[in-house]
Symmetry: C2
Subunit: 400 residues, 2 copies
């Protein structure tokens, strides 16, 4: 990375002008930086006809804490490469990569400025009928086609090497599986939750179940994951969902992605207890979110089984019943990982706007308490569920 | 590998003389090749005082089928590197690496010519009291210290990359988990077994259990394995056992190594029904082999749990009960993998001298039939065993 230097507006514009053919030579380009993230610079470069692209540059440190937390630039390579891999499989659900420069940690992407970030939309109570199916389709296809069912073992081992992502995985390992379950300076929760958190820290059965999930996260390279698919990593409009930001991508347990997505829907579900403006509205959005989770789980399973039936290349995995066994395990994992997402987003370092944006402190505390309990019970009980129906029943019983 | 060239006796001698300081300058060296393997040249280089070393050079093809089956020379790097890693942890049980040259695929090793190959000794009915403990100690220590319990996740991911061994793993994937369970030209069994083999090919429950084991072999990088620890990869004398030949080494499921070792003891157990010269002798060697398996399993578990209690660095895996849960799963896996070893050594491409060396055809067929049945039942029933005691009971019930 010897030639790495961070770009300013003028340099980003110049880069697009001279290093790509994305605009015509006589285009009159403008450029501004609008990143609100902590890890990257994000520029929008547009011509006089409102054609635009996004130039994203990874920073060599986490901006939220100054330059003191170094972070590998290699994540830009990972992110662009995951998008390209996933984009080949699911072009409709993956933001398009237009240009990649690993040395500068620069990726140029299609501009999704006409779409909205799912998290903000859900916070406003808006619903998207296509969302669950789109995400189920994305998760099932990208995971199946990068799994042992489909890939030749040697090809998969090469990909596992290519997508080894130790630094960003370490963040997840700490924030999901370690910090929330012990006293840790990175944890972040209101005093009102202290009693519940202390109880959680002493819940050995819970910590045992979390250890099993962590073990899978560490050592189950089942498929090329997005690695961070929360509702802030998804753009939506009336017809489409587009996934962005897979810089945490790596070969891991398939249930992790599905669980992260469902977990974020459930965080919003809890938040709606304080956010919804009326009881009917709350019922409506609750019903929508539950339906989303059920549709996503059920279509994920169905698509996976269909793909397995028609596209499994591994001789052994063609054995009758194996795909069904495998997907059931993935769903159980997903609900467990979902539980860890609920907990870490409530008491760990990084929270979600769905809950933190609730102004009334008492209401916020109630929501957090619910999210925490829900997370705990999912982690504890999901491993005992024998089917998708069991998992669905479990979730209903915990929410009603 | 541009400078690679195979060595003859004179060149091997010259190599040791000029490229190492293993002998004094005025040593009068002799050298001869005595490899009986299919994949490597093996030279013994000695001086006039009978000091000697072994020079092993990997061939770029499998010799048994001419030069038509190319095989990566990178396995020499893997083999030497595994020996060095394992040797650091268990110097008493690992052959010592004296010199390594990846370009020539050459490794120079301590000469174990004063020791015997375990397989030949067992075939002759000889017993080694220390064997089970030594191997249990080796397997427990090498696996624990390369596992997620002990290694920092980033360090482990780097090692997983370093020990990615796609070509040799592919051999195991085919020979252990695919070929024996379907009609395949590589399979090799007497006509007298046909009926039993056809039944096996139609046993869906068995193939399902094998698929689960294959999935672990493909995607469970728990620890740095030997990868091929059969009784032909172990030298013994009255006091020591020394492990050689880990060219199949990679990060895989810990139970695979333990299962391979136990599987080879059980192949000998079956063979003794035809080999032992008298009933008391047979009872004696049977009792010895069973004791070996029980001691090895039990000490492996005990050492692992002690290491986990005292040396686990991962915070989450320190949770009470997690190590116990993990090791139980390893033992279940081991007995399953053991079953696949019994089957593939009986009807697959590569057999064992223990059985193939039985001269009487009818007796040999009986032994093979027993090995096949034993393998099937271990694969089917081991996943349901709740403890080491259950596994031990299962084995006894299948042998008596």
């Amino acid at each position: 990375m010897t030639n790495y230097t961070t770009l300013d507006n003028a340099q980003a514009l110049e880069y697009v002008k001279t290093q790509t053919q994305l605009f015509s030579d006589d285009a009159n380009l403008t450029c501004y930086e609008f990143g609100d993230g902590n890890l990257n610079l994000v520029f929008r470069v547009a011509d006089q006809h409102h054609n635009s692209v996004i130039l994203k540059q990874a920073l060599p440190y986490a901006r939220c804490v100054g330059e003191s937390w170094p972070l590998t630039l290699d994540r830009a390579r990972i992110e662009a490469s995951v998008l390209i891999k996933h984009g080949t499989i699911c072009p409709d659900t993956t933001v398009k990569v237009l240009h990649q420069n690993n040395e500068l940690a620069v990726t140029i992407l299609e501009d999704l400025g006409h779409m909205q970030i799912l998290r903000s939309e859900l916070c406003e109570g808006r619903k998207f009928d296509h969302l669950a199916s789109n995400i189920a389709n994305y998760l099932a296809h990208t995971s199946f086609f990068s799994s042992d069912f489909y890939l030749d073992a040697q090809e998969k081992k090469a990909l596992v090497q290519e997508f080894t992502n130790p630094e960003l995985c370490a963040i997840t390992e700490d924030l999901f599986f370690d910090d929330p379950y012990r006293v840790c300076s990175r944890n972040n929760f209101a005093h009102g939750l202290s009693e519940q958190v202390t109880k959680l820290h002493h819940n050995n059965a819970l910590k045992l179940a979390v250890a099993k999930l962590k073990s899978k996260f560490l050592s189950a390279p089942q498929a090329l994951l997005h690695g961070d698919i929360h509702t802030g990593s998804i753009f939506v409009d009336d017809k489409h969902a587009k996934v962005i930001d897979p810089e945490f991508g790596f070969f891991g347990p398939i249930g992790f992605d599905l669980g992260s997505f469902i977990g974020n829907l459930l965080l919003n579900y809890c938040a709606q207890n304080a956010r919804a403006k009326s009881l009917p509205q709350r019922r409506d959005i609750h019903a929508y979110l539950l339906k989303c989770i059920q549709t996503c789980t059920s279509e994920f399973e169905q698509i996976w089984l269909t793909l397995a039936q028609t596209h499994t290349k591994d001789l052994s995995f063609q054995t009758k019943g194996y795909a069904e066994y495998f997907v059931k395990q993935v769903l159980r994992d997903a609900f467990g990982f979902c539980g860890t997402e609920l907990i870490r987003r409530t008491i760990g370092l990084a929270h979600v706007a769905d809950i933190d944006g609730i102004e009334d402190e008492h209401a916020r505390l109630n929501v957090q308490s619910q999210a925490l309990q829900l997370g705990e019970q999912l982690i504890l009980q999901a491993p005992h569920c024998k089917s998708k129906e069991d998992l669905s029943q479990l979730l209903l019983s915990l929410l009603l």
